[in-house]
């Protein structure tokens, strides 16, 4: 393990000042549930580790201007304790419950959930994010049961975030601090499919820190997350879907559907969502929306089953949002 410098800044400005120009200069430490194992496995060898948990304010959840502002270093447990999250965002609560390790919920942070690295076993075994060897995709030729059914170019891993689909469906934005100032970004555009090993899966520059997640008020809309999991205990979902549905009486005014663990980024099913407009949510309509959501899926050699799972996740998330039992 490469020796590293440990920095414990008290402000965001101090923290960004400690970050470097490249990923190998510095890594951001929050809960450490991913970073520590990446470092032990030599997947990441930063020269400096910058702890952001001592930064005041990054651990706060607050209502501000119709938005819920969640500091990047708020733990999953603390997020789940917040009354607004409990009352307004069942989809976030359901996503949080999907992280079935109390230890990870206790240590892990919302910012960390969004910035964690993919779990692809080729990546974790040292073959890179795209899993290429001698110009060929190890993922295509090998064990791809847990991989993308919506691959994007050479990126065939799946985004690991538990909260991103729910947050994107809710229209969340990020506040990002950098050396040259702060910026805001739609969470939907934060996840990107890298085209080469030099690129990352999130649109964050090496000198930047996610400081805040801004979640628009659910404002009477219904939202839900459904995860299909192999195990009930600690395990990654096989496919998830998060939905936000605005109702007009008994019919859908507008909907947003985002699937997780099916592509290198969360996948928005906009056509399926548009199709729902004007309809009431029944089991049949939810099933049809699920089917529409997986249209165009391009499963790999071993993961056709995930098409079915994603379809069911969408169907069940919609039914849950509509208060139907699944």
């Amino acid at each position: 393990m490469q020796n590293f410098e440990y920095a414990n800044p008290g402000t965001v400005a101090e923290a960004t000042g400690l970050l470097g120009a490249t990923w190998s200069d510095a890594a951001i430490l929050a809960g450490g549930t991913d970073l520590l194992s990446l470092m032990k496995d030599y997947r990441m060898s930063p020269k400096r580790v910058v702890n952001i948990k001592s930064i005041k304010g990054l651990d706060k959840v607050a209502k501000a201007g119709g938005m819920l502002s969640v500091g990047a270093a708020v733990t999953i447990d603390d997020l789940m304790e917040h009354p607004a999250v409990r009352s307004e965002y069942p989809s976030l609560m359901q996503a949080a419950h999907g992280i079935t390790s109390p230890q990870i919920r206790n240590m892990g942070t919302l910012g960390g959930d969004l910035c964690q690295r993919p779990r692809c076993w080729y990546f974790r075994n040292g073959y890179g994010l795209l899993g290429m060897q001698n110009g060929k995709s190890l993922i295509d030729a090998g064990e791809n049961r847990y991989h993308a059914i919506f691959p994007q170019g050479a990126a065939k891993f799946v985004s690991a975030s538990s909260f991103a689909p729910a947050l994107i469906a809710l229209g969340a934005k990020l506040k990002i601090a950098g050396k040259s100032g702060n910026r805001e970004a739609d969470l939907a555009s934060f996840f990107v499919a890298p085209k080469s090993e030099a690129e990352r899966e999130i649109a964050l520059q090496p000198g930047e820190i996610v400081t805040e997640i801004l979640i628009p008020s659910a404002g009477g809309s219904k939202n839900a997350t459904y995860e299909v999991r192999h195990k009930d205990a600690l395990d990654w979902p096989l496919a998830t879907a998060s939905v936000v549905v605005k109702m007009n009486g008994s019919s859908v005014a507008s909907a947003k559907i985002v699937m997780g663990h099916v592509g290198p980024t969360p996948v928005s099913a906009d056509k399926a969502a548009a199709w729902l407009a004007g309809k009431s949510i029944t089991a049949e309509a939810a099933e049809a929306a699920g089917k529409a959501a997986v249209e165009g899926a391009m499963p790999l050699s071993q993961n056709a089953y995930k098409v079915q799972l994603a379809k069911v996740a969408v169907k069940r998330a919609l039914m849950m949002a509509a208060g139907l039992s699944v």
Binding site: Y127, A141, G142, E143, L309
Partner: protein, 715 residues
């Protein structure tokens, strides 16, 4: 010679009590020290550099840079130039340094030049095995063709159970200090009395120089008998470092890659039966791998060994993978799954209740009565009559419930064991034995036996185990420990008591055979007032103490121990046919047994075995990558094991009664770990109406079995 026989079941005071394990609080509070917890001053940390290639020749190896790195005290090359490595993870070199990160960095600085050779790592398709396949030759019993002609129906099925690992929570390894003439060896082992000699042989030193000590072990399951090459190299590194203690444990990835696996088993089974379910013929073509050396045949047909008309063909397949080690009931879970799945399939085809078909065929087993009794009892426990339905004919809706059966058998005769019992003048008792407590409760059971035998409370008995300076006791494998240690400690305690009775008999005025020791008193049988307290009796020893030994010889069980049990397990599952996800509702286990020293610990064994079965039936699988030749899931993230929420209800019934009790003590660890996989796989088939041919029964396999290659449910 003292009377060793077990006291009557009704008159026992300590044996048979549901007592919690003596080291339970120590273990659950973290106070218990495993050898991997030992961190003496001056400790060096060693790590293993292993091969990234599944098949390669080491052309050159250069350790010069590693040797110069900070903190490095010893570098030892295992795979010298010219060595052919046969699996990814194979040992290349070891490095010891003052900190583990330093050792890891140095290991990575070793430059190895490999000539990479073609590898073969997946045995699922036998046609691809080529010269890696070695046929064992055909075995035929009876007239197989006639047997199939006599059948009213035949079924042909393909079944598969993959390679899984032991996944010990405490990985393999040890701490060693080699100081002058003495080697202090602190291994994680199932073989306290034998492992020192094993290490001595590999180091070419006298066994007398090796002192072994281990208080606790974090799991073994059959994988921790030998000292292994890492024991030898760890000792050598300590020697290189002038006798400094060196600690070396495999990391998680290495533990799951090279520390032993359970062999796979693939089989095509053709079965014939009469209309009433009676089997008439069996034909199986099977293959398996346990790594580079291939894999033996599971005992097929399992349990129903006396059925007529069998034709068996087995092929061992050599792959470039880490080798097999004994895994809790070697080859039995695989055989039970293959056999019971085929039986369940033919029951479904005959439209018969599988209990009927199993019952009809127990005539072909060595213990028909046992299985009939157990099938009936398990059926009540799982509410079979209410919850069972013909295959696939359950309630409508997406959630399908099903029930299934699995069967087991095992020996479990106690191993050779010697015990030294000591009665001190203050009335305390010490028992010494070179055995180990694998988590089964060995300490507690020894204490119960000695307490019962001497009539003193358990807190007067100090049990000393885990050290090779104590009388030798067998390795803990094959469910042999409880028989061995209960018999030897019974005998040692009885002999010690006999000597004490010699001392007090004159005072009580009767021959010693008319005395008995109960409730901390020694009194005349039938005249309990004529007594001396235990303490007063022991005070007569003056400055001396009594020492007596007891020995268990498996060839002369002497009524204390026995072997041979059956077991039935049943599973109740719910399968979501939209997602393929299987959830456990309940498992029941009816377990044949002998004399049970501690029913709580015995049930705990069965509970653990049921959990292991759930893991193997629904989750566990070593995933090999064809291109890289590596194990892709050598972690505890994608090498999936059940958590509490995945387990459901487990109900265990030990068949404790006068008849079984009279058989003597019989080992239990293995038989309960056999039938669960079959029960769960059969329950899934019953629930969804089709056979999922391979375990673990994962969502993709369920969907594939239900909907074919598209794996999509077309509503």
């Amino acid at each position: 010679m003292a009377n060793y026989s077990w006291p009557e079941m009704k008159s026992r005071k300590v044996i048979g009590q549901r007592l919690s394990r003596l080291d339970g609080i120590e273990k659950s509070s973290g106070k218990a020290k495993y050898t991997s917890d030992l961190m003496p001053n001056g400790l060096l940390h060693a790590v293993l550099l292993s091969s990234p290639h599944a098949h390669a020749i080491v052309r050159s190896i250069d350790t010069s840079e590693a040797e110069k790195m900070p903190g490095v005290k010893s570098v030892r090359v295992v795979a010298k130039a010219g060595t052919e490595v046969q699996w990814a993870g194979a040992e290349i070199a070891y490095v010891a340094a003052t900190s583990e990160p330093q050792a890891r960095d140095a290991a990575r600085a070793i430059k190895v030049n490999y000539e990479v050779l073609p590898h073969f790592v997946k045995e699922d398709q036998i046609t691809r095995a080529g010269n890696r396949a070695k046929a064992a030759g055909e075995q035929v019993t009876g007239d197989v063709d006639q047997g199939f002609k006599d059948a009213a129906v035949t079924t042909e099925g393909e079944y598969a159970i993959p390679v899984i690992t032991h996944c010990c929570l405490e990985p393999h390894g040890q701490m060693i200090e080699w100081k002058g003439e003495q080697i202090n060896y602190y291994p994680s082992t199932q073989n306290v009395s034998g492992i020192g000699g094993d290490l001595a042989r590999s180091l070419n030193v006298p066994a007398s120089q090796i002192k072994v000590h281990m208080d606790h072990i974090g799991g073994g399951f059959g994988a921790k008998f030998p000292s292994d090459n890492w024991g030898k190299e760890c000792a050598n590194m300590s020697k290189d470092a002038g006798g400094a203690p060196v600690r070396m444990y495999l990391d998680r990835a290495q533990e799951l890659t090279i520390a032993g696996v359970r062999p796979s088993h693939f089989a095509k089974i053709k079965l014939g039966a009469k209309a009433d379910g009676t089997l008439t013929a069996w034909e199986s073509t099977s293959w398996s791998t346990g790594g580079f050396t291939g894999g033996g045949m599971a005992p097929l047909p399992y349990v129903f060994t006396n059925m007529p008309n069998k034709r068996l063909n087995h092929t061992a397949v050599s792959i470039n993978g880490g080798g097999a080690r004994a895994w809790r009931a070697p080859n039995h879970p695989q055989a039970s799954f293959l056999t019971c799945a085929a039986l369940e399939d033919i029951a479904a085809k005959l439209n018969l209740d599988p209990i009927e078909v199993f019952s009809k065929n127990v005539q072909f087993t060595p213990r028909a009565e046992t299985y009939i009794r157990q099938l009936k009892r398990a059926a009540v426990m799982i509410d079979w009559q209410k919850n069972w339905h013909p295959r696939g004919k359950g309630a409508s809706g997406n959630l399908k419930r099903g029930l299934g059966i699995g069967i087991a058998t095992w020996g479990g005769l106690g191993h050779a064991s010697r015990c030294l019992a000591k009665i001190n003048a203050d009335g305390t008792v010490e028992v010494m034995m070179g055995t180990q407590d694998l988590g089964t409760g060995t300490r507690t059971c020894i204490s119960q036996v000695v307490s019962e035998t001497l009539g003193v409370p358990m807190n007067m008995v100090v049990v000393r185990i885990g050290d090779n300076s104590y009388p030798a006791s067998g390795a803990s494998g094959g469910s042999t420990t409880i028989g061995g240690i209960s018999a030897s400690s019974r005998k040692a305690a009885a002999e010690a008591l006999d000597q004490l009775l010699d001392l007090v008999a004159p005072q009580l005025g009767v021959p010693k055979d008319q005395l008995q020791a109960v409730d901390s008193r020694i009194f005349v049988k039938g005249n309990p007032d004529k007594a001396i307290s235990w303490k007063a009796a022991c005070q007569k020893l003056g400055p001396k103490s009594i020492e007596a030994t007891g020995e268990n010889n498996p060839k002369q069980p002497g009524g204390l121990i026995n072997q041979g049990v059956g077991g039935i397990q049943m599973a109740d599952v719910t399968v979501d046919i939209e997602t393929g996800v299987v959830r456990m509702n309940k498992m029941v286990a009816v377990q044949d047994c002998g004399l049970i020293v501690n029913p709580k610990l015995a049930e705990s064994q069965v509970n653990g075995a049921c959990i292991m079965s759930i893991c193997a039936a629904l989750m566990e699988e070593r995933v090999m990558d064809n291109v890289t030749g590596r194990v892709l899931n050598a972690d505890m993230e994608f090498y999936k094991l059940a958590g509490i929420k995945d387990i459901g209800e487990i109900q265990v019934e030990m068949e404790i009664d006068e008849v079984n009790d009279k058989r003597g003590v019989i080992g239990l660890g293995e038989p309960c770990a056999v039938g669960g996989v079959a029960a769960i796989a059969n329950a899934v088939a019953n629930a969804i109406g089709v056979r999922v041919p391979s375990v673990p029964v994962t969502p993709d396999r369920v969907l594939s079995a239900l909907y074919g290659n598209r794996m999509e449910r077309l509503a």
